[in-house]
Amino acid sequence: MSTPAEKRRPLSLRLRLVLLAAAVLAVSLGLVGLALDTAFHKSSEASLQARMESMVYLMLAATEVQDDGTLLKQNELSDPKLGQPGSGAYARVEGLRNQWLSPSAIGITFPKLTSVSAGDTKFAVPTTDNLWYSLQYGVAWELPDGDLTAVNVLVLTDPQELQQELKAFRGGLSRSLGAAGVILVLAQLLFLTLGLRPLRKITEDIAGIESGSLQQLNDSYPKELEPMVRNLNHLLDTEKANQSRYRNALDSLAHSLKTPLSVIRASLPVDTSAKASAVESSVDDMQHLIATRLHRAAASTRSTMAQGVDVKTQIDRLINSLQRVYSHKLIQMDANIEPELVFYGENRDLLEVLGNLLDNACKYGDGQVRVSANTIDASDPRVGISIEVEDNGPGIAEHAAEQLLQRGVRGDERVEGSGLGLAIVVEIVNAYNGEINIAQSALGGALVKVILRTR
């Protein structure tokens, strides 16, 4: 049983391909090496055997059999190897009466081998009993009396020479196979890098969509990836379309509900009888529900692939607008915004939070409003922003602040006398997984601090 925590991330495509290719390469290069080694070994032994056979003939040619069957060494041996002691090649001609040895064989103890019958050749590789390569050759020599006498020629060769040859060959072989292997692995890496480049491009483009610098996967991709790219683009389109359809539906719902509410309200008689005030309070409730619930629904559709919004621009717009609305109050509004601060969420949500907070500050403040905004993580601006709005009004008492914030959480439980704005702010803050605090400002009034997380 494996729990999700134990589950390991699958290896990357690149690493998989490299590892597989390297394994196949190692096995096949190994097999090639083995085959070449075996073949070389065999052919070396075959050529050794041929050399030894020629030595047998040399020995026979140098042998003279006397009439009584005694063997005599007739002349010098033309192969210098047989003439030099310790040369590595030793020969013996053995008759029934005597034997003679090649001059090289001084001090060599010949192994005891069973002699072969006339006409037979026996080649043997070194064993634990016999440390030499041996070639035995049986000949029947006709004596003048017509008898046949058996002559056995034995040639021994030191295996060291062949082993050295083999070692040199193996060294060369492994070097060249190793070089071939390295070249092939490098080539493999190059192929993979080139071959996987479109995938990397797609990854980068998707990151671009995430950061908002791209709207669609627009580049041309290899044929194999086209269906995926098409589907992805389709998905993006659908998401966008769904989102705007959803938003439009909510919007028009809000719109179409509010106008009849205005009519109801405007048609109420001025003298507030009990019935009229019941209708009035129902209208209030409905208005509150529309503003908070519908907004919550719209806020939760915020796009995960939102483009950045310049915070300074939006705050300036709001300040200009509010200066118009509150032109009679002559409010001094100061903005203290981190340079080039960008909000990676929905512009309308940012405007909504700032608009409501600034509006409250203008409404309840006494002519002085200050707004500051900063990133919450300087190393990654996408994490989110913090906003502080303060005024020099009477401020909000601690218990009242709690109630105000609570109200946003439970939109159906209303507290008399508080504006709708803060409730909407709380809805948006919740949708952004953020925080909201009310404190005392250095200006004397309320300080509302809001954190909006975009990651």
């Binding site: 509010k258 205005s262 048609s267 109420l268 208005q287 717009r317 118009r324 512009n347 700032l354």
Partner: protein, 226 residues
């Protein structure tokens, strides 16, 4: 004071027009953006109330065109879209205030009165003019702590003159700002209103705040105490 109301929802249009008329304003009403723009450009409007979602031409477009045409009267936007994105767009296009639907009629009246006051450069809801004290929101006129009972039209005339003190106001201008376009105007009626107003605010005839400039119109002069 003459108000242009541009609202496409007929029932809301009706009730708002009723409420504003009751409050003593002359109302021009339309449900269409293009017509609203025409009224705003051609009529002597003192304030416009414009719904943002209009057929023909959007409210924002109407406001922008009015401001491009140098029409400076205050504009109050009505919007069902309570979002700041819409409010900011409306205010950026040149509106002075907004009201989100659904609203209390009292709120609308208060905003309208405040905007008219602001446009006349008056920041307080109560104007003191010599011995007169005029509360623009409750529309009450006092003379030395004594309330003067004025009819709607008498009050309208007095209010308009108060907003334009030391200015010559012709009978035509008065009637234009007191009556809606479709009303039957008669400058003699204005004379009657001014006559009655004079008798009510200056029963002894010693203050003479409203001066008649023959052939030109009327001028409100700071009363000289006897």
């Amino acid at each position: 004071m003459r108000i242009l109301l541009v609202e496409d929802d007929i029932s809301l249009q009706d009730s708002l027009a009723g409420i504003l008329r009751e409050a003593g304003y002359a109302i021009d009403v339309t449900g269409d953006g293009i017509e609203g723009l025409f009224f705003g450009e051609e009529y002597p409007i003192d304030l416009a109330i414009i719904d943002l979602g209009l057929p023909g031409m959007s409210g924002i477009e109407v406001i922008r065109k009015l401001r491009e045409g140098e029409r400076r009267f205050p504009i109050l936007i009505l919007t069902a879209r309570s979002e700041w994105q819409d409010k900011v767009e409306g205010l950026e296009s040149g509106a002075d205030d907004y009201l989100t639907k659904p609203f209390h009629p009292e709120e609308l009246k208060a905003r309208v009165a405040a905007l008219i006051r602001r446009s006349a450069g008056i920041s307080q809801p109560v104007i003191e003019f010599g011995p007169y004290k005029v509360d623009l929101s409750s529309q009450r006129v006092h003379h030395n702590q004594q309330e003067i009972d004025l009819t709607t039209y008498e009050y309208k005339v007095f209010e308009y003159l108060l907003m334009h003190p030391d200015e010559v106001v012709t009978k035509t201008v008065l009637s234009e700002h007191i009556y809606a376009e479709d009303a039957d105007r008669d400058s003699n009626v204005i004379e009657v209103f001014v006559g009655r107003l004079r008798r009510k605010i200056d029963p002894d005839g010693d203050l003479n705040p409203i001066e008649t400039l023959r052939g030109r119109g009327y001028r409100l002069n700071p009363p000289t105490p006897a």
